[in-house]
Symmetry: C2
Amino acid sequence: MQETFCIMHFTVTLPDWVIEQQAQLPTCIPILEDRMRAVIRFSQLNIDHRTGGPFAAGVFERESGRLIAIGVNRVVPSNVSSAHAEVVALSLAQQSLHSWDLGSDSLPAMQLVVNWRPCAMCYGATIWSGIRSLVIAGSDDACERITGFDEGPIHPEWKSELAKRGIALHDGLLYQEAIRVFEAFRDGGQLVYNGRQGNG
Amino acid sequence: MQETFCIMHFTVTLPDWVIEQQAQLPTCIPILEDRMRAVIRFSQLNIDHRTGGPFAAGVFERESGRLIAIGVNRVVPSNVSSAHAEVVALSLAQQSLHSWDLGSDSLPAMQLVVNWRPCAMCYGATIWSGIRSLVIAGSDDACERITGFDEGPIHPEWKSELAKRGIALHDGLLYQEAIRVFEAFRDGGQLVYNGRQGNG
């Protein structure tokens, strides 16, 4: 018989500073660049507060820019290796809207804004979420090179595969601003968590 | 100013029937086929109880077969589109062991047993989890064909990419038993949730 305690749930929580920071944002952010600027700011705040990796994401109504949810990377504080910023933002948006499908007919089209391209996992998570628009600050190897974070084996045709599924991609918005956060992270000497490379 | 309530966390919970069912399992399951048999049984129970999709996963110590955590698909009941069985099992195992890295030097090698191949998202989640062994009942198109669930754009070389990262793959264990659950799901008329295909 199983003697150990049966773990029945897991919870991912945003750090407390998000409450105050989110309260300072307007209800709607109509200009796309301003949405990205807000997301990049959260990525910087997450390393300033040492509450996770240098990644943040926001779910917005695509047309109005109404902010639905902000997420930041919470892998290490939550002990959940899938708690990347995208997964956190998408899950919080789904809680807020009481829907596992952000592409539901009863909702306006939703947009995910992230301070870099999705890793192999978040790529799939983005597709399953129902969002219709993905906006990223960059997609080259700069993030991996500067921070040491592994992005994993994403599909080589990932951009066209998004298009096939009705998800419009906007790449390269505020690229330099995103890079500056990765450089700050690198210079801060914080933990780079990665899937292990062949040991064990 | 942001007027709406700021959602600060999300939680994924196993259904109550798991407590009783998990209590009936031995602490250790030394034979690999028996581990898969237990996982397939949970996939069937999840559709019998109508508590999620026809998918289950277990995290075990690879050598001893000690059961660390069982997960089942909880997308619809949790309103979390990433709450696939693998993500649930891996996250619960990480909670149980107080580690975001199941490949930590302080832990024995861990194994993930699933009743089918990972989707595009769970493939990345598997890599980031730190498990060293992935055991699946099958990886062809039978699951998509029978159930209608989309597996998403996984890397074409996903098997060799796992090997590169030190994750051994065992494919095809109790294939027919897994298929029977997918057929039961198809015949039960339950919801197939999928990323939406180009509308909106």
